[in-house]
């Protein structure tokens, strides 16, 4: 086992594991604010550990994991998003609530799963990584549940997640059966040599895609679990929509590039159809919502659709566009949810119409939410615009011009739909008196950092683009 020594490459992950253990040991004695601080310090240490491995490519455990430029790009993003979620999550406490002190530990473990997923290059390891992420999300929904609806919501999430894992596993098993290898790249080479197994391979791809649907946010649990948005606190949803979604797309990108891209099935066409439906349906569903969190989650369907568009052109512009899109998406989700968490300190309501007092009582939050909504829709000059333009560019490059047209029209549709939030937050007179609550440093930092990040990426994409090209060349190499 000559590669066994490379286990030290896992030092960021080891830090996360260590931090989680420390938190679980201390949870009986320390309040949640302290354990959150421990978790934040752990994330910073993990980031520093990762920084020592920039610009390296290391194979770990005989090729079960591969730390390359792609993985490093994603891992930096994951650690940053997780840190912002923890910062914002500290303020997500209703009067009379006392969240479990161990909660940040589960956030760390979920991040650990996402980190492993980013570097996994083999079917078993990637499935285990995804399950580590998923199981901790189940725990978090149960642990942080709110009110009577919380239990049902957590259970619904567990069932849906388990079913999707099973479907994913079937898909992977089928792929393994066809190729005879669990290593993604080797499996891809085997599939490229195969002829005449198109139906089976298409089935495998469909199952993998279906298995990822929940994780992408294509099939949100909110769909059939009523009360999810109120039963589960926004800090958990925020984490799932940023870290969880990014990790899922990363893993799927590995599978798509290494395994399916070389095979003889029209995989890009399948994905293009799913993407077009998701973009349009997500936006149509989102604009009819009356709850802010539901709207954001349904907007997430459309975002997942846009991310899938990048997969139509994997060999050229796709991966770079995907990386930038995911960065923008993670920042945007964090920004939107952080603003909502902060606003909920003054107005405990989930209804869009209750945002009416926002620009008068908490103008900073209103601006942040406005920026996030504009970014979600894909208008300049914020991050979401470039995310979407690059993804659409990839679609045209891949020969799916009609998909780019659908995407461009969806930008207009989304902008028009989400403008309702802007109107209510900035235009409508407040229906009730709101006493502004002084916000903690953590949540203010989270809102400010994510909003500044969105604007910065909307104006200066250069550095991120360079990094994304580096990540792209790593995975295509």
């Amino acid at each position: 086992m000559k590669t066994f020594g490379n286990l030290l490459t896992f030092s960021p992950e080891i830090w996360l594991l260590g931090g989680a253990i420390v938190i679980f040991l201390q949870a009986r004695f320390l309040p949640r604010t302290s354990t959150t601080s421990v978790a934040l310090v752990t994330l910073i240490l993990a980031l520093l550990a990762l920084a020592t491995q920039f610009k390296q490519t290391t194979m770990i455990l005989d090729g079960a994991f591969l730390l390359d430029g792609f993985a490093i790009f994603i891992q930096v993003m994951l650690l940053g998003a997780a840190a912002l979620c923890l910062l914002a999550g500290r303020a997500d406490v209703l009067p009379g609530e006392s969240p479990a002190a161990a909660e940040p530990g589960f956030f760390l473990l979920a991040t650990l799963g996402a980190m492993l997923g980013a570097s996994a290059t083999e079917m078993v390891s990637l499935f285990l990584a995804l399950e580590l992420l998923a199981i901790n999300l189940y725990v978090l929904t149960g642990l942080a549940r709110r009110g009577a609806g919380g239990i049902g919501a957590g259970l619904g999430y567990l069932v849906l997640g388990a079913a999707s894992s099973a479907i994913l596993l079937y898909g992977l098993a089928l792929t393994f059966g066809l190729s005879g290898d669990t290593r993604l790249r080797a499996a891809g080479q085997a599939l490229a040599a195969l002829h005449g197994t198109k139906p089976a391979l298409l089935l495998a791809l469909s199952m993998v895609l279906a298995g990822f649907a929940v994780r992408f946010g294509l099939l949100p649990v909110h769909w059939w679990t009523r009360g999810f948005e109120t039963g589960v606190p926004p800090r958990v949803t925020m984490f799932a929509l940023s870290v969880g979604v990014v990790a899922a797309f990363t893993v799927f990108a590995r599978i798509a590039v290494s395994t399916f891209a070389g095979s003889h099935i029209p995989y890009a066409a399948v994905i293009a159809v799913v993407a077009a439906v998701a973009m349009t349906a997500g936006n149509l569903l989102a604009v009819t919502q009356s709850s802010v969190r539901r709207l954001l989650v349904y907007a997430g369907i459309a975002q997942a659709g846009y991310a899938l568009v990048a997969f139509t052109d994997l060999k050229r512009a796709g991966i770079g566009a995907l990386l930038i899109f995911l960065t923008a998406l993670a920042l945007t989700s964090v920004c939107a949810f952080a603003a909502i968490i902060a606003y909920a300190r003054s107005v405990h309501s989930d209804a869009i119409r209750d945002l009416a007092a926002m620009s008068r009582t908490t103008p900073g939050l209103a601006v942040a939410l406005g920026l996030a909504v504009i970014s979600l829709a894909g208008l300049p000059p914020v991050a979401g615009f470039f995310g979407k333009v690059l993804v659409l560019q990839a679609a045209v490059d891949g020969g799916f011009a009609w998909l780019a047209v659908v995407g461009a029209l969806n930008i207009a549709l989304a902008a028009l739909g989400y403008a309702r939030i802007l109107r209510i937050a900035f235009v409508d007179p407040p229906v009730f008196e709101v006493a502004a609550v002084r916000l903690g440093l953590g949540i203010r930092a989270a809102v400010a950092l994510s909003a500044a990040g969105i604007v910065f990426l909307g104006l200066f994409l250069g550095p991120l683009y360079t990094a994304a090209s580096y990540g792209k060349s790593a995975i295509l190499h």
Partner: protein, 489 residues
């Protein structure tokens, strides 16, 4: 001086960001916000005037060019520059934003958001005029939608919400056309670049070029606003608060004309020439429609909207003729129309405020108490109908003279439109200011100091541009000639 254009574009945006941190609880603090916004707008105007003084090369190339790496990966750069076509419009924009900011009073606790939005809008408008990169152009174009939506929706008249939604819906749809045109162009070009001057000599297959040309044209015609896309403009013009309506009619719609001249005419000239027949028809209908609707219009604010629409038709006619004289006239007319529309909007706000209604039939005899208002309104109305010696005379004259050889019948019809519009304006003057005053009027207050200052400033420029069109004409002409001489497929 390469940073001058950047400053003109970004100073308003920076000022808007700085304003975020101003407290706005007391009246003194709000007054401070307004002063800050005024000084930012004045600074931008000063920079623009300074730019105009330095603009002397007149070789038809872009002046104050600034190129920086921005998104080199996808072939987009931060490329700014002005020529004789964008420079006068940039001057107009910076001037009218100063007037708009100065004219914005009575905002009370919403002052902060209002000025932030207005300054963001200015950044977007100036950015479009200065951009020489399609992606940057689109970015600034799209930057205007949300601030304008909020400005109309929040600070307008009773039906402002409907007008704001209409604006947003139509503007976003048009933007989608613009984005599609830019993306198709980008992908069909042999070099992956968004740079307008690099793509200048591009030769595309006829079908593709026609598609791109139409997409661009529709996107710009919606903004212009040309018939049948003008209804959003009339509603927004009627419902927005006076300073916002001033920006809308004076500056924002001029971007449509600018886009048609810069992109359709400058970059896709031969394609544009192919469907110029359709454009002429649209142009003539727009001129006539605006003029006839102005005659029938009872609402003072809508009337101004139709005056702008009618002039937009003339700009379109000039573009379709592609004659140098006509294009010169169109650019000049856009500047003049911006100034006139601004003065009309300001005076209409004063008149409607004093009369307590915007219905022209409910007014009358106002000249007795409001001598100065009467004077300024008549001046603006005369300017709008192209009275010699006032701003739009030279522009309208050149458009007609330039377009006549190519499109004789259309020009005759357009001339009829101009005459009808003149009739409408004279009739309106008679109805508002003369005749019998309604009983309820009592004593009406004439222009206040601030209103007088704004009106006098605009009137000065209207007269100045009418007497000395040459102050802008020389630089416009050189750029128009070079614009028309180049241009690929």
């Amino acid at each position: 001086m390469t940073f001058l254009l950047s400053a003109i574009v970004w100073v308003p945006a920076l000022a808007a960001i700085v304003l975020l941190f101003f407290p706005s609880r007391t009246d003194i603090q709000r007054e401070r916000i307004r002063s800050f916004a005024i000084s930012a707008a004045v600074l931008v105007l000063a920079l623009a005037v300074f730019m105009w003084y330095g603009f002397r090369d007149q070789s038809g190339t872009y002046a104050y060019e600034e190129t920086r790496n921005w998104l080199s990966g996808i072939g987009s750069s931060y490329h700014l520059g002005v020529d004789g076509i964008s420079m006068p419009l940039l001057l107009l924009s910076t001037l009218l934003f100063v007037v708009a900011v100065v004219a914005s009073t009575r905002l009370r606790e919403q002052a902060k958001e209002y000025f932030i939005l207005l300054l963001l809008l200015e950044a977007g408008v100036n950015g479009v005029f200065a951009s020489l990169d399609y992606l940057l152009f689109f970015l600034f174009w799209q930057l205007q939608a949300v601030p304008m939506f909020l400005l109309i929706a929040r600070f307008g008249g009773p039906r402002r919400l409907a007008a704001a939604w209409k604006f947003l819906a139509i503007d976003l749809a048009a933007s989608a056309f613009l984005l599609l045109a830019i993306l198709i162009l980008y992908f069909k070009a042999p070099v992956r670049t968004f740079d307008i001057s690099t793509l200048h000599d591009l030769v595309l297959p006829a079908a593709t070029a026609t598609l791109i040309g139409w997409l661009f044209f529709i996107a710009f015609a919606v903004r212009l606003p040309a018939f049948p896309f003008h209804t959003w403009f009339i509603d927004a013009q009627a419902e927005a608060s006076a300073p916002v309506a001033l920006i809308l009619g004076g500056v924002l719609v001029k971007l449509g004309g600018y886009g048609i001249i810069r992109v359709n005419l400058g970059e896709f000239q031969s394609t544009f020439h192919k469907f110029s027949g359709a454009v002429v028809v649209i142009a003539v209908i727009t001129v006539l429609w605006g003029a006839i609707a102005a005659v029938a219009q009872d609402d003072l604010r809508r009337l101004i909207g139709y005056v702008v629409v009618s002039h937009a038709g003339l700009v379109l006619l000039a573009a379709a003729s592609a004659a140098p004289v006509a294009i010169n006239g169109a650019v000049l007319l856009m500047v003049a129309d911006g100034l006139t529309a601004a003065l009309l909007v300001l005076m209409a706000a004063v008149i409607a405020d004093r009369a307590g209604t915007t219905s022209i039939r409910a007014m009358g005899g106002m000249a007795a108490h409001m001598g100065r208002s009467t004077l300024f309104w008549i001046l603006a109305a005369l300017a709008a109908i192209g009275f010699p010696g006032l701003a739009s005379f030279a522009g309208q004259f050149m458009v007609v003279v330039g377009a006549y050889p190519g499109h004789r019948i259309a020009t005759w019809i357009a001339l009829i439109g101009i005459l009808v519009l003149a009739g409408a304006m004279i009739l309106t003057v008679q109805r508002i200011f003369f005749g019998v005053a309604p009983e309820r009027f009592g004593r009406l207050r004439d222009l206040g100091t601030l209103e007088l200052f704004n009106a006098a400033a605009l009137a000065t420029f209207i007269v100045l541009l009418g007497l000395l069109p040459a102050i802008l004409m020389d630089s416009i002409n050189f750029s128009v000639l070079s614009l028309l001489s180049g241009g690929g497929g």
